[in-house]
Symmetry: C2
Subunit: 323 residues, 2 copies
Amino acid sequence: MAKIEEFRQIIEDQIRMLDRPVRPEGLYDPVKYVLSLGGKRLRPALCLTSAALFGDYSAAVLPAIGLEVFHNFTLLHDDIMDQSSVRRNQPTVHEKWDNNTAILSGDVMLIKAYELMAKSPVGVLPQVLEVFNKTATEVCEGQQFDMDFEKTTDVTEEGYLDMIRLKTAVLIGASLKIGGILGGGSLRDSSLLYKFGQDIGMAFQLQDDWLDVYGSQEAFGKRIGNDILTNKKTFLLITALNRLENDSKKELLSWLERKEYLAEDKIAAVTHLFDEAEVSDLTRKKRDEFFFRALENLEKLGGNKDIKNELQTFAHDLMARAR
Amino acid sequence: MAKIEEFRQIIEDQIRMLDRPVRPEGLYDPVKYVLSLGGKRLRPALCLTSAALFGDYSAAVLPAIGLEVFHNFTLLHDDIMDQSSVRRNQPTVHEKWDNNTAILSGDVMLIKAYELMAKSPVGVLPQVLEVFNKTATEVCEGQQFDMDFEKTTDVTEEGYLDMIRLKTAVLIGASLKIGGILGGGSLRDSSLLYKFGQDIGMAFQLQDDWLDVYGSQEAFGKRIGNDILTNKKTFLLITALNRLENDSKKELLSWLERKEYLAEDKIAAVTHLFDEAEVSDLTRKKRDEFFFRALENLEKLGGNKDIKNELQTFAHDLMARAR
């Protein structure tokens, strides 16, 4: 069994142990619910894998769970802010309970995440907390930029890339870096792990944006064109808005404002405009920039060769599918 | 100048230094707003005072600010949950901005609180974090119980006391205990400080409940009878509900359900029922239990005599007025 699969088992076992305390139920039932919905457990799996690069990963187990709890806290609060009613094919917490429940249960999850981080060995605790504090702050900043961008059609490529870096990529980088620190990696190694993770996170988000329009339903696992229908600010839309001129730009803006249309018409028309602006190639080019830089940094990394290979396989797998 | 006043100055200076970073404004402007609204800075002042009991308080400065940031985070999120539109005579964040802003700005404040806690010297960092994690969790539990209680008329005295302990008193206890740890106090001393603070917090909350009905407008600084008008579950109401029988109990319950009334009529009628159930004396008795136990524990404490006296004065002052 690949190491990363072994880690997923450890993670599921540990997550089940968070089922205590139980009272007040109004606070803790939603926490259990969210954590039981599954998901790929990407961040703790990466954390344990990068710790294992240097030998013993045991010190990383609880902080790795902390990263997963933190990630789920962000989903819980983001879902309130975005008024999303479904997450992992189940009703979101604010749908199943209410907004107040989702706010408070999210808060206690953020505290729990810190509690698990604080289980790091004291010798590296300040270092781990420094990475985690910085990252957690950045994730909030990313969410704020994301919400700000929803209100405007005037977003630069640089601004968009910085937003997805903050909202998504830094936590992948931090998961690997924290694992590296807890596994006993050098400063250089944990810094390379961070860069690898951050760039993979960027490549993954760009791939996700691209798949929404140019993927096959099968590979994507989500309905094609959904981002187009919801006017989601993706790399594709931002690029098209920045590159199209005159009538084409007007047409794209009018589709963003139109309230009544057939879904297939909007998807076809916007895709056509994307094609005109060559966003498919530009997105893949940008994605590959991040992806190859990630692999370069992985190459420079020390540690166990087999585990490094697992990280490489993992990076390739992630590009082949979506979240 | 009394030490505690000196500390308040240090606290205000440090809080102004939190005015960075500035972008995204949507995230950080509300944080600055909340922290600029003032308040007594009770928790950091107590933290620094208890650190000073044992000599050098400098290690406690940043964690003390963390306690204030945490407290303000709880106010921000509680105000959303309670739909309060005014705090410290100013519009609340969700009123001035919106709910999403209040959620996310609160989140980043909780992270900031941890960042400041993490500035504790590494030798005591795990100990400080343990107290803080436990306390932060309990404050969320207290808020949940408080919200649960709002939906029922069936709350025991024990349940109520446990709720205010979690929601309010433990953070006062923790502020003193964390100060004690950071100042270099013994385990015994920091444990006594915790008990002192928790009991003072309980006495203070009971006094606040009592003043709403039996205080003078002048001493209270808030409108008399406001808790009665909003059906707030206070120690007085809980006690009356548990002690009244037959017609008196029915009358009290009917006042809780009535939608149309003159404010002065409801205040007069409910106060009359409180008198019948002897809740004034019972509340003062309970308050004094906590207050005198607090002073007893303060007595047993080691450290600088003058600073101990300041803590004692502070406890008496707190009883003389309200939040």
